[in-house]
Homo-oligomer: 370 residues x 2
C-alpha cells in the first residue's frame, strides 16, 4: 500500500529532483523521527535552539543567501502568505508575473489582496515575462490610486523553467519604494542566489523542492527594514512571533534541511555543470522530434518539451498515452506524468553524466520501436 518503488529508479520529475536527500541526512533521520524530537533543549524559541544547533544554521543560511534575517517556514507558499499577511493591508494589490505558481495567487487570496498580472514579452514558444512591464503595471495602478502592497516575481517558474532577471524587477521595486518578494522555490538550493545583488526584500525557498530536505519545509529571508513586521512578537508571549504562530517546523523536516545544507552548498557551486547536462538533453532530444519550450538556451534544469512525436505514437499504440510512461518504467525511469504525451516536463538535475546519457538513449530507443 505504501511502497513507492521509486527508490531505485531514475526520477525525472523536476518537482522531485531537487528534494532527494543525501545519505548523511538519511542517517540523521533515525535519531529525530519521533514527534517534537528537536525540542529537548528549547528555551522557548525555535530559531534559537542550540542543540541541535538551529540558531547557528539559520545564521549560516542568512549569510549564504546574503540577507539580514532568516526564519523557517513549512514551505515557500507559507512564506509568501506570511509576508503578505504581515506587510500588506486588506485590499492592497500584489503585482505578480504571469508564470507565477498557483500558491502565489492562493496566498494573496488568503491575505485578502487583489492581484495584478505582468504579461509576456512573447507567449509561445518562450513564454518570456516582460519584466519592464512591472513599471507599467505599477504606473497604471498608481494612476487609479490603488495601493500596491507587494511586488512578487517567480525567480524560476515551474512550467517552463524560465529564469528571470530578478535584479531588473528589484531595481524597479526599490525605485518605487514597494517591497519586493522573490519566489526562489526552484532556485535556492539548486543555483547561486544573492538576495542583496537581486535587490530582493524577501526571499522564499523550498526545502523539499530544491534543498534536498524531507518536507514540508521552507526558508523565509527578509531585510532588516521589515523585521518589526515579520518578526513581531506576541503581546502575551514575547518570545513567540505571531506570523510563525510561535514555532513552525517543530520536527524532522528542519533536521533534514540542516543536515543536507553542507551538501546543498556544494552542489550549488556545480550549477554550470547542471546547465551543461540540461542543454545536452535538449540538444539530443530535439534531434528526435522533441521541441523545447521556454527561453533558449536553457538557464535552469526544468525542461518542458512539446512532444508531437510521442502524441503520434499514442494514437497508434493500444496503451494510448500510457505507452511512454510504461516503456520508461521498464527501463527504470520514472517521474514522467502517466498518460501525458503532448508535452512532457523533466529534469536531470543531480544525475551523473552516465545516467543522463542512459535517459537520452532510453528515450531514443523507445521512439525507434515505433
Amino acid at each position: 500500500m505504501y511502497c513507492r518503488n521509486l527508490r531505485e529508479m531514475i526520477n525525472l520529475n523536476p518537482i522531485q529532483r531537487g528534494g532527494i536527500i543525501p545519505k548523511e541526512t538519511k542517517k540523521v533521520i533515525y535519531e529525530f523521527w519521533d514527534g517534537y524530537s528537536i525540542c529537548d533543549f528549547c528555551q522557548g524559541k525555535l530559531d534559537e535552539i542550540e542543540h541541535p544547533n538551529i540558531k547557528h544554521f539559520l545564521e549560516e543560511v542568512a549569510e549564504w543567501l546574503n540577507i539580514d534575517f532568516v526564519r523557517v517556514t513549512h514551505g515557500a507558499r507559507e512564506g509568501k502568505f506570511a509576508v503578505m499577511h504581515a506587510i500588506c493591508k486588506e485590499g492592497d494589490y500584489v503585482i505578480l508575473d504571469s508564470n507565477a505558481h498557483y500558491t502565489s495567487y492562493v496566498s494573496a487570496e488568503r491575505a485578502k489582496l487583489n492581484i495584478a498580472k505582468v504579461g509576456y514579452e512573447e507567449k509561445y514558444p518562450t513564454y518570456k515575462i516582460n519584466l519592464d512591464d512591472y513599471k507599467k503595471v505599477i504606473d497604471e495602478l498608481e494612476d487609479k490610486n490603488k495601493n500596491i502592497g507587494l511586488i512578487l516575481l517567480t525567480h524560476v517558474d515551474g512550467n517552463y523553467g524560465n529564469l528571470n532577471d530578478a535584479k531588473k524587477v528589484g531595481k524597479i521595486a526599490r525605485e518605487k519604494g514597494i517591497p519586493f518578494l522573490l519566489n526562489c522555490a526552484y532556485s535556492v538550493g539548486r543555483m547561486p542566489v544573492d538576495a542583496k545583488k537581486l535587490k530582493a526584500d524577501f526571499i522564499v525557498a523550498s526545502g523539499h523542492k530544491s534543498m534536498a530536505a524531507s518536507g514540508p519545509i521552507g526558508i523565509l529571508g527578509f531585510r532588516e527594514e521589515f523585521y518589526d513586521k515579520i518578526a513581531k512578537p506576541s503581546q502575551n508571549f514575547p518570545k513567540k512571533e505571531i506570523e510563525f504562530l510561535g514555532c513552525t517546523s517543530r520536527g524532522l523536516p528542519i533536521i533534514t534541511l540542516m543536515s543536507s545544507f553542507p551538501y546543498v552548498k556544494e552542489r550549488v557551486k556545480k550549477w554550470n555543470e547542471e546547465i551543461k547536462k540540461t542543454r545536452y538533453v535538449v540538444e539530443e532530444l530535439e534531434k528526435v522530434g522533441f521541441k523545447q519550450l521556454g527561453i533558449k538556451p536553457k538557464e535552469h534544469d526544468l525542461i518542458l518539451f512539446e512532444t508531437p512525436v510521442l502524441d503520434d505514437i499514442a494514437k497508434k499504440d493500444k496503451r494510448r498515452g500510457y505507452f511512454f510512461y510504461d516503456e520508461l518504467k521498464k527501463r527504470g525511469i520514472g517521474g514522467i506524468k502517466p498518460g501525458v504525451t503532448k508535452e512532457i516536463k523533466m529534469s536531470v538535475y543531480g544525475l551523473e553524466w552516465e545516467q543522463v546519457k542512459y535517459v537520452i538513449n532510453s528515450i531514443k530507443e523507445i521512439l525507434l520501436q515505433f
Copy 2:
C-alpha cells in the same frame, strides 16, 4: 552534533510520549523521505490522493472522530489559525479558557481577534477551569455589544493535564449559536474523542504530540455547516482550498500519520490502563514527598508535580538543580527539564508496567541517596 541519544532512554516528557512512532511507521519512512514523495499520483488535491491512499485515510479519521470533514494541517496551532481566519472577522472576540496553550493566543493575535478569558473554579492546587463561566463571559460581551466569533476550549491542557468536560461548553455554545472549537492536541490519539458527543464544531489535533507521527502535522475536523468557509476554493484554481494554501502537509509527516493510525486506534482503546498507570505513579511518588497539582484523581497521563523534596536537595548538592536530571540520565531516564526542581512535569504514557515501576523505583532510589 545531531545525535539525541534519547533513542534507548525512557523519555518522560509529556510533549513527546504521544509522538513516539511505532516500528511499522519507521519502515515506511525509508520509502518517503525525499521531498514531495507523496505527489507522484496527485490529481491536484492533497486530500484526494489515492496512491498512497490519503483520501481513504481522511475518511477513516473523520469517522473515528465522528465529525463530518477532516483536513490535514501542519499541527494543532495551524488548525486553530485556519478556523479563526476563515470564520471570524477582524476585531471579533474569541473566548478561551485560562489554561489555553500559548498558540491559541498567538493564533487569535495573527487573525487580529480580541481575547476574553474564562477563569478558574479554583487556582492552586487544581487549576480547574470554571466551565459555567463561559456563559457568564458570553453574556458580558453581548451586553457590551461585542461580536463573539469563536469559543475555544482546551480539551486537556499542557500544564496540569486537566481534562475538561467539553460537552458542557459545547452545549452552551450551541445554545448561543456561537461556533465551538475544541483543542485536542493532548487528547486525540491518546484517548477516545467523539466530536458529535462533545458538540464540537471544530476539532484540532496534533500528529507529533499525540498521534505517533513524525511532525509537524495535525488534523482539523469540522462540521458540514462550516464547509463553505473552511474549504473555500480559490477563485483562480478551483481545486485548491484557500485556507490550506492548496496543499498543507506535502511530504513525510502525512505518511507517518497514516501509517501510525491503526496503532493509534488500538492504543486509544487501552486508555483506562494508561490512567491506571498514571494514578499509580501519583500514588507512589506522593509517598515520598511529591505533590500532584491539577485535578485529582488524574484523568490524563500528563502529571505536574510540586517537588519541594527535590528543591531541598538542589540547595545542598553541588550540581544544584541539575542533580535530578543527571541522576535520572545515569539510570537511562530522560525528558525531565534540566535544572528544574520546584515542579516537574512527566508522563508514563505508553510505557510497560515494568518500565513504570522502574521509573518510580529510580526516583525513590535517587531521593534515598540524599
